[in-house]
């Protein structure tokens, strides 16, 4: 990430579980993490948009990144959480994740950027791979994940 400078060479990520894989979400985008709740379906929107929820009086859209990334559909368990993200371009939006595990602090050297020549679709949603004690985490490029897919 460009904004990392010499003074602050570390970035904090929240490690989330999606299926068998672990992903990292930059903590600066995270507004809140809430338990799974009733999602009101909105008709005539792309499949990955699950609907809207009420977060303290505000109506917030919620998307399934599993559907967006062509993973099997979400199975709602007691560990399922909605991460509320605050993004500059798209405003506030929630994403459904299987589980929120921990917060890790990665130094710049621990992040390996990935190139975009991979043929796989979902590689586009990742800007790097983080290496830490617990193993590898794919670092999500949130703007790419949230961006509407061109038809």
């Amino acid at each position: 990430m460009d904004e990392l400078n010499l003074m602050n060479e570390t970035t904090q990520f929240i490690v989330i579980q999606l299926g068998d894989e672990q992903y990292g979400v930059d903590i600066k985008y995270i507004d809140n993490i809430v338990r799974m709740q009733h999602i009101t379906r909105v008709p005539k929107v792309p499949e990955y948009l699950k609907g809207v929820i009420n977060l303290r009086g505000e109506v917030i859209p919620v998307m399934s990144i599993r559907v967006k990334m062509d993973l099997p559909v979400d199975e709602i368990t007691k560990n399922t959480r909605i991460i509320i993200l605050k993004l500059e371009v798209h405003g506030i939006i929630g994403i459904i994740v299987d589980q929120v595990k921990e917060v890790v602090t990665l130094e710049n050297e621990q992040i390996e950027k990935v190139s975009y020549d991979g043929k796989e679709d979902k590689i586009n949603y990742i800007f790097g791979i983080g290496k830490y004690d617990g193993g590898l985490i794919s670092l999500l490029d949130l703007n790419a994940v949230i961006m509407e897919r061109e038809v």
Binding site: H38, T40, R41, V42, P43, K44, V45, L49, G51, V52, I53, N54, G57, E58, V59, I60, P61, H90, G91, I92, I93, I146
Partner: protein, 693 residues
């Protein structure tokens, strides 16, 4: 001085003044002799000049200065108003508006000096005065005589005298004292101008009394003057001595002066003057401080009857109001939770809760109303500019026309009022250009020579209706149809099957204009569809009715408020939806057997009216929970003249709901206008009945 913090106020006030000028000059055109109008124009021009000067907009100031000068002559009766002058004044106003636009965009007035306008205004003054044969000064009270002087530095002659000063001077004159005007020039190299000025004051005060100075004393002390300042002095000593005393101060370039004669005829009754003074002070706070060449305002009789120049307005930051609005929203949500809590409890405990709910309900309703009222502004601010526009159009199109307006006091949400100006302007232009026939054609068809355009606004239930009506030729449906076919908007067969009303509605289609010749007034083919989309963006609707030969009526219907509505809650396929009560006509129970088919679509025959029905479960991609043979609940909704029946599963009841945006991320869904939060915290979507029909 940093004036940027005043920029917003400056813009607002300048707009008000310009509007007032526009209105007053229009009045003046009708009644060129009306002294009240002339006075108000003078005052507005004067205030404008002062404000522009304070903000450092020199070009704007220069132009207003010339307008003010011209009007000062008009006011004193030396120049008569004629139509050329009115045109020139309007041009000047346009130029001022241009400055204002520039300032609004980039805080800079631009570099158009409008020299030709300034020149013309000066010509008017010069010519007007040259034509002046007999002296007929009716209102000027102060005549000033200058001692002969070769140079034009007699600035003291231009000091505007307030009434206090005049009174004092008149009394002094009666007592046989001398009144002098002095212009003191400071040397360019002078470093401490304020200090030198102070010494001059002191020297002069030894010999007499300084009645007033220009700039005001405070400004002189703060060194807010260029190289000269003016004084008016009462003294028993001869003029030469006073000048010599002032010139005795070092670093003073020179002092020029003369005797001032006060015409005291206008100041007979001192008590009266004092009364007037209080009025005039509150009305024109800038008059005495900022005027440089403006003549003293002495027309006394008129003041009592004249209105204040602008409306007194309270400016409230919209953001603050929005916060208040959100608070109210939460209050309503809280109320709704109480409602849902009470319905689940035992009957015994319920009565107390019910009382609370009733109380809460009255509080929230009142709060809602009062907050709404704060947001409401009369549409006056928007429609005020139209008489001027129609006048200009009348000249440009060479058609005679009059604009009649009513209901300017009708109030609408501020956000709506700000947006409604452009669509209304389009409709009026349209009426003037296409609606009204050429004068010759009007005379042929036996109509009055001058066409009439009406702009009526009124409240109708939860809506505000604005009608633009003309008595012109009406819409030629056949011509519209031909044009539409020609433009490829419809096919010839479609055209044959369309009703006259449908054809007229084609006018709102993008890229459509019936004017044979594209003029710069209207007819670019972008007007009406923009009008329609703009009004729909405001949750309003626009319709047109036309009768050939008798004129057309354009009706705009806007909701009073955009934030909280009364809604009917329904369920479809187990999901809850809200439908605005405003668009609901009736609710009917229909047997499945009553559904008929017309052109392969389902309709019902309701008391003689055939209404198409829409199965909401299909539209919303869900499955109805009801069996096919059960009776159906049909909500009949209305949009203008059109109706439709929405089949829903169940009715839940009426509720006051707070409209929340779905956010820009989910904006694709056409017939969902927003969402609301129910008492149990669940989100329900709001169906936009208008989009469904």
């Amino acid at each position: 001085m940093d004036v940027s913090q005043y920029l917003e106020i400056f813009l607002d006030e300048t707009k008000e003044h310009l509007q007032s000028l526009n209105t007053q000059i229009l009045n003046l055109e009708q009644e060129p002799e009306d002294i009240d109008t002339i006075n108000e124009i003078f005052r507005a021009a004067h205030s404008l000049k002062g404000m522009a000067g304070t903000m450092g907009y020199k070009r704007m100031q220069a132009l207003t200065h010339e307008m003010e000068s011209a009007f000062s002559e008009v006011r004193s009766g030396k120049i008569k108003i004629n139509s050329d002058m009115i045109d020139l004044l309007f041009q000047s106003l346009d130029a001022l508006e241009e400055y204002l636009d520039n300032i609004q965009r980039n805080a800079d007035e631009g570099d158009n000096e409008n020299k030709h306008l300034i020149k013309k205004l000066q010509d008017i003054v010069v010519n007007g005065l040259a034509e002046e044969s007999a002296p007929k000064t009716t209102a000027t009270a102060a005549k000033k005589k200058a001692t002969p002087s070769s140079e034009g530095t007699e600035k003291w002659m231009e000091i505007p005298l307030g009434e206090t000063e005049q009174r004092v001077l008149a009394i002094a004159q009666k007592q046989g004292k001398n009144i002098y005007g002095l212009t003191v020039s400071v040397q360019e190299s002078c470093l401490l101008k304020a200090a030198r000025a102070f010494l001059v004051f002191k020297a002069v005060e030894d010999l007499g009394e300084i009645i007033m100075s220009q700039p005001p004393t405070q400004d002189i002390e703060d060194e807010k003057f260029d190289l000269f300042f003016n004084l008016i002095v009462i003294s028993e000593y001869p003029l030469d001595k006073v000048i010599a005393a002032a010139e005795g101060v070092s670093e003073i370039e020179n002092v020029r002066g003369g005797i001032l004669e006060i015409d005291d005829s206008g100041i007979e009754n001192i008590d009266d003057v004092e009364m007037e003074l209080m009025n005039s002070d509150s009305m024109m706070p800038m008059e005495q401080n900022t005027g440089k060449s403006g003549q003293s305002n002495t027309s006394q009789g008129e003041k009592k009857s004249s209105k204040p120049v602008v409306n007194r307005t309270v400016r409230v930051d919209i953001e603050k109001l929005d916060v208040l609005m959100n608070l109210v929203s939460e209050l309503i949500i809280a109320k709704n939770s109480l409602v849902s809590a009470s319905s689940s409890e035992e009957t015994s405990a319920r009565s107390g809760v019910n009382e609370q709910i009733e109380y809460l309900e009255s509080v929230t309703t009142n709060l809602h109303e009062s907050v709404m009222k704060v947001r409401m502004v009369p549409i006056e601010s928007v429609v005020n500019k139209f008489p001027r526009m129609i006048r200009d159009l009348s000249k440009k199109l060479n058609k005679k026309m009059d604009l009649f307006m009513s209901g300017e006091e009708t109030e609408l949400d501020r956000t709506v009022v700000d947006e409604i100006g452009d669509p209304l302007m389009h409709l009026l232009r349209n009426a003037a250009d296409h609606g009204l026939e050429e004068t010759a054609a009007r005379i042929r068809s036996g109509k009055p020579e001058a066409g009439s355009i009406f702009l009526d606004a009124f409240q109708d239930g939860n809506n505000v209706v604005i009608e633009v009506r003309d008595d012109g030729a009406g819409v030629d449906a056949e011509a519209v149809k031909q044009k539409a076919i020609e433009r490829g908007v419809i096919t010839a067969e479609q055209g044959d099957n369309m009703t006259e009303k449908d054809i007229i509605d084609l006018l709102f289609h993008a890229g459509f204009s019936t004017a044979e010749v594209v003029s710069d007034v209207s007819g670019r083919g972008v007007g009406l569809d923009v009008v329609k989309s703009k009004i729909e963006a405001l949750s309003g609707e626009v319709e047109v009715k036309s009768k050939k030969g008798e004129g057309s009526t354009w009706t705009i219907r806007l909701p009073l408020t955009l934030a909280i509505i009364q809604a009917l809650m329904v369920t479809v396929g187990g999901e809850k939806y809200a439908i605005s009560l405003g668009s609901i006509q009736t609710i009917e129970d229909i047997k499945p057997g009553d559904i008929k088919y017309v052109q392969a679509s389902e309709v019902i025959n309701l008391r003689g009216i055939v209404i198409p029905i829409i199965r909401m479960s299909q539209i919303l991609d869900t499955t109805s929970k009801k069996a096919d043979d059960e009776d159906m609940v049909v909500v009949i909704v209305k949009k203008g003249d059109k109706m439709a029946g929405l089949i829903v599963d169940e009715l839940m009841g009426q509720q006051e709901i707070v409209i929340k945006s779905l956010g820009k991320y989910i904006s694709k869904c056409k017939f969902i206008s927003g969402a609301t939060i129910l008492g149990d915290g669940e989100v329900a979507l709001i169906l936009d009945a208008n989009a469904l029909i």
